[in-house]
């Protein structure tokens, strides 16, 4: 069994994600007002904030699905939007929508994305992913017959199919029941343990506290506070979060 040929990162890059003075406007409305953000390789960053703070917009810019109005975005040494294809090859995205086709089976969905990511010997990889997310027994079932939790597990499988360096999770717990959430916890811990860089937006402070190594609060279009797990030892995340929003 051959191991993946991991994509080389730019030799000049030191941080995995660097965002400088990022501004995003939709017409007259400014959503992000000069965000500075940096993530080291292997970090698990929880990006927290109230509804409408711009978390999803920020993640969509990192995923190259939206262009910044002003500012610099650099991922794995590649600059957005000019080197978007190189960035996308190193990026996995999980959102609250599954990004899966209901009229295809679980394995057909993964096969399709494997071809889009130009993965060779993808049959073996598809089987590995289905085993990883616990859907091997349902591989030939149509995705539209899956529960929300099963779809989200398959969505994670789709996101890690090409073994990305960076994984972006946008509210991955939305609509999941307790069992499905626990399952997702396990998958996230596994992904993080493999040294992947993870950025996750969430409203669930308990889960974020359990998983992340750093906590950034996005409020009123800027990162208003940031703390590592170590720095939060004397207080808890809820207090830190409330103080950040109040300040």
């Amino acid at each position: 069994m051959s191991r993946v040929k991991r994509k080389a990162l730019r030799p000049t890059h030191k941080t995995m994600i660097t965002v400088k003075k990022l501004v995003k406007r939709f017409g007259l409305k400014t959503i992000l007002r000069g965000v500075d953000f940096e993530v080291q390789p292997g970090e698990f960053v929880a990006l927290l904030g109230p509804n409408g703070a711009g978390k999803t917009t920020f993640l969509r810019i990192l995923a190259s699905l939206s262009r910044p109005s002003v500012g610099e975005v650099n991922i794995a040494g590649y600059k957005l939007p000019h080197e978007a294809a190189q960035v996308r090859a190193r990026l996995g995205v999980v959102s609250h929508l599954p990004l899966l086709y209901g009229d295809l089976t679980a394995e057909e969905n993964l096969r399709f994305y494997a071809r889009m990511y130009n993965i060779s010997k993808y049959e073996l990889r598809v089987t590995e992913i289905l085993e990883m997310v616990g859907l091997e027994a349902r591989r030939r079932d149509l995705v539209r017959t899956f529960s929300r939790g099963m779809q989200q597990r398959l969505a994670i499988g789709r996101a890690v199919l090409h073994d990305p360096d960076v994984i972006l999770f946008d509210e991955p717990y939305t609509g999941l029941d307790q069992d499905a959430s626990s399952m997702l916890d396990d998958v996230l811990k596994t992904v993080a343990a493999k040294g992947r860089t993870v950025v996750m937006t969430s409203h669930d402070l308990v889960r974020a506290e359990d998983l992340a190594t750093r906590f950034d609060i996005l409020s009123r279009g800027v990162i208003s506070a940031s703390a590592s797990r170590k720095e939060l030892r004397k207080t808890n995340l809820l207090t830190f979060y409330r103080q950040a929003l109040a300040g």
Partner: protein
């Protein structure tokens, strides 16, 4: 089940350069669309039923002699293809948007024009299948022989032009809340040159006009096809991005 998730296996895939992925990505999109449609038959059945209803309505509405029927055939045929085609184009992009799959496609490390060409080929396939079924039904109902090589070529060229510009505009309109209304409003004014040339060429072939008379609209069709595909190739990336 939970334990399974924690056992992440070694990865055995390899990844090549994104630039070498173009043809593979186009074929993957076509395969995915055909496979999904084969299962659901949502798009195809809507297009087919709509087409058959249009030619039936025209058949009852226009009680014409054989000669007049031949002269209106081109117009009736292309109206049918255009309206049915709009249904298909709308649905084809709506399927991508509704479950967030368009984002899934856009996240792939391929030139985004590969997505465009994949969608064009699958939309064209659906349109041609509907046309293949509609033509014999029309021939029987109107007593007109439509199986002429020249006419089939015109139908192919006209469909390519229609789908090329329609897929681009469907990708644009699907981002809006009023996508069902917006697509025909955007599409029909832009696609008029293709439809006019197609009707003119089809009419000429059916009425047995001189070759020189038919050649001009056919050349125009070829030119429009090339222009529309080239423009869509250049702007698709900007159209699908927020």
């Amino acid at each position: 089940m939970v334990n399974k998730a924690t056992e992440m296996k070694p990865i055995t895939a390899s990844r090549n350069q994104p630039s070498g992925n173009f043809i593979k990505a186009v074929s993957a999109v076509v395969w995915k669309d055909l496979r999904s449609e084969f299962r659901s038959r949502e798009l195809f059945s809507a297009m087919l039923v709509f087409s058959l209803l249009i030619i039936l309505i025209f058949n009852f509405a226009l009680e014409l002699d054989i000669k007049t029927r031949q002269s209106v055939t081109a117009g009736v045929l292309w109206s049918t293809f255009a309206f049915a085609g709009t249904l298909g184009l709308n649905r084809s992009m709506a399927i991508e948007k509704d479950r967030g799959c368009l984002d899934g496609l856009l996240l792939a490390p391929v030139d985004r024009s590969a997505i465009y060409f994949g969608k064009v080929i699958s939309n064209l396939a659906f349109m041609l299948i509907v046309e293949i079924i509609v033509l014999p039904v029309y021939s029987v109902l109107y007593n007109v022989n439509l199986f002429q090589p020249g006419l089939l070529l015109v139908i192919l060229l006209g469909s390519i032009g229609y789908v090329a510009v329609g897929t681009l505009l469907a990708a644009m309109s699907v981002q809006t809340r009023t996508r069902d209304i917006l697509l025909p409003i955007l599409l029909f004014p832009v696609v008029i040159p293709v439809l006019l040339a197609a009707v003119k060429a089809s009419s000429g072939i059916l009425t047995g006009a001189d070759f020189a008379e038919i050649l001009l609209p056919i050349n125009l069709l070829i030119a429009y096809d090339i222009i529309f595909i080239a423009v869509a190739f250049m702007v698709f990336d900007n159209v699908v991005e927020e």
